[in-house]
């Protein structure tokens, strides 16, 4: 898989436009993680659903789930964390519907991104904002 500068810019640009988040500091890491997964291919939308709470009571344990009917693999990224990588899920021949639920850590209010690689080799993504509260007592 060849990764060129133009491809990376296109991915970064399209993501920035749709997410409207100033993730400059880790943009390169995010771009890198995405490029590693997609090889610089275009990323579409639709056919993938990322479910997150709108507001997380505590950033230590944020329940999320992702489903994409024809995915062969999915990566999860948290753009406001010190490192954007969260998990990579590869679906084997005996996986049922292509879904998974897990619990993740979010350092602050941020965008969570799921990108699926579909069986036909194309890519699609979903983005959700999760507000992470910092409690008065919870500390």
């Amino acid at each position: 898989m060849k990764i060129d500068r133009r491809g990376l810019l296109a991915v970064g640009g399209s993501l920035a436009c749709t997410t409207l988040v100033p993730f400059k500091a880790i943009a390169s890491e995010t771009d890198e993680a995405i490029a590693k997964f997609t090889g610089g291919a275009n990323i579409g939308t639709g056919g993938i659903t990322l479910t997150t709470p709108e507001i997380a009571e505590n950033g230590n344990t944020v329940p999320i789930s992702v489903e994409s009917g024809k995915a062969s693999s999915i990566i999860l990224l948290a753009l406001g964390n010190p490192n954007p990588n969260v998990a990579t899920i590869n679906f084997g021949p005996l996986s049922g519907s292509r879904m998974t639920s897990t619990r993740i850590r979010l350092r602050k209010t941020q965008e969570v991104v799921a990108i699926a690689k579909l069986e036909d080799g194309s890519f699609t993504k979903d983005v959700k904002t999760v507000k992470v509260t910092i409690g008065g007592c919870g500390g």
Partner: protein, 109 residues
Amino acid sequence: MAKGVKPRIKVPKQASAGDMITIKTLISHKMETGLRKDSDGNKIPRSIINRFTCDFNGENVVDVGLDPAISVNPYFQFNAIVPESGEFKFTWYDDDGSVYEKAKKITVT
């Protein structure tokens, strides 16, 4: 081997051939991110479960790569198709080289 690691899994005892079943897995693990410092200001080294796999009769169901952003006591729920009776095998890989395994049989009618 990290301390206090204990895997838990939930798989139905039986299913019909070709059924899609729900599997829940959880392993108690501190998932130390490698970003924290101790009281002396020294970095606490990263210590996480970095990979989790589920196979059924030798065929793969899911293969997950985990990063430090996965919460303490990593939890995964997913689905599997069961073509025949057999055994699920669950494997968790620790940064320190430890491998934790658990198996569960299912009867397909």
